[in-house]
Homo-oligomer: 206 residues x 2
Amino acid sequence: MTQPLDDADRNERHNARMKKLQAARARLMETKTIERGLIIVHTGPGKGKSTAAMGMACRIIGHGWKVSIIQFIKGAMTTGETAVFNAFPDQAEIRAMGEGFTWDTQDRARDIAKAREAWEAAKARIMDPEWKMVVLDELNIVLRYDYLPLDEVLDVLAAKPADTHIVVTGRNAKPELIEMADLVTEMTQVKHPFKDGVKAQAGVEF
Amino acid sequence: MTQPLDDADRNERHNARMKKLQAARARLMETKTIERGLIIVHTGPGKGKSTAAMGMACRIIGHGWKVSIIQFIKGAMTTGETAVFNAFPDQAEIRAMGEGFTWDTQDRARDIAKAREAWEAAKARIMDPEWKMVVLDELNIVLRYDYLPLDEVLDVLAAKPADTHIVVTGRNAKPELIEMADLVTEMTQVKHPFKDGVKAQAGVEF
């Protein structure tokens, strides 16, 4: 049986380990020198894809830059974050260009026309370097249903200004988009309160 | 060889399928009637855990409620979102109570004292129903290193006011916390630009 470490021993070992970790991390960070606008994808079946994009939009505002959020699927739902972004009218815009979820519209031709309209608006923002970040919210859904040609979207992303960050959200991201992206996070649902009969909560879901 | 569907056919089939989906969803939503404050956990090795919590905090502000963000690990780093939350001084606070990453401090006794201080501040916010949401940012790291007793933390969360939302972030969430939580999302890293030598970007990482 080994002797349990007393607190002083444990602290000392911890501190030595942390010192090594710090040195390793410093060496790693020295190799990270490239600054450029990123193509970021939030996908997967879990929550937090759009919400994390909203959090990034806050950071852009905080740094004094401009961010445009184009919502491809959600309609003119009044979400909590709209009020926050509206407090920075010179730096942020949220444009709800979708008609609601596709199972509410039941009109594919109309969905395609709306997707095209939203994409044209998005393209104008992406190509204007004044906008430091463009969030293409739920664009993955639009691409999944073939409402927009994937090649056309990828061509525009490839031609974006060097410093612009693009954030694409929505489940089922196309493999070609993941291939092109710099940073891809998959959100996985471990546990969801809907299963217990809890309804969507203001401040959490919208 | 089957005849390719023409566009009118494809639209009609899509619309019929969406009509069924809408009806199924409406039936499901009718069973979701419980409103209450949730315990939410963002964990996993991917990005977006704290960022999605910041997005939720924006929603709380947008709805006119109050949110407190307690940072357990990060020090007084000036992140982009601080500027946004500072625009709502009556509704939002960010309290950076940590001393930086634990590999920078190399002082376990001091880390524990700081964790205790942050936790006491967090407890006061959690128990005051005036705060609709309390974000315990990186609390999972603190629990992982045993800087705070897990049982004490779980007892406080179990005793939170009914309407209060708690958001806990950080990788390696304790199984007991996941068990207690209502909503758990795991963020998985699919692709990260660090691998290509790209450094942390203002507006994305901070």
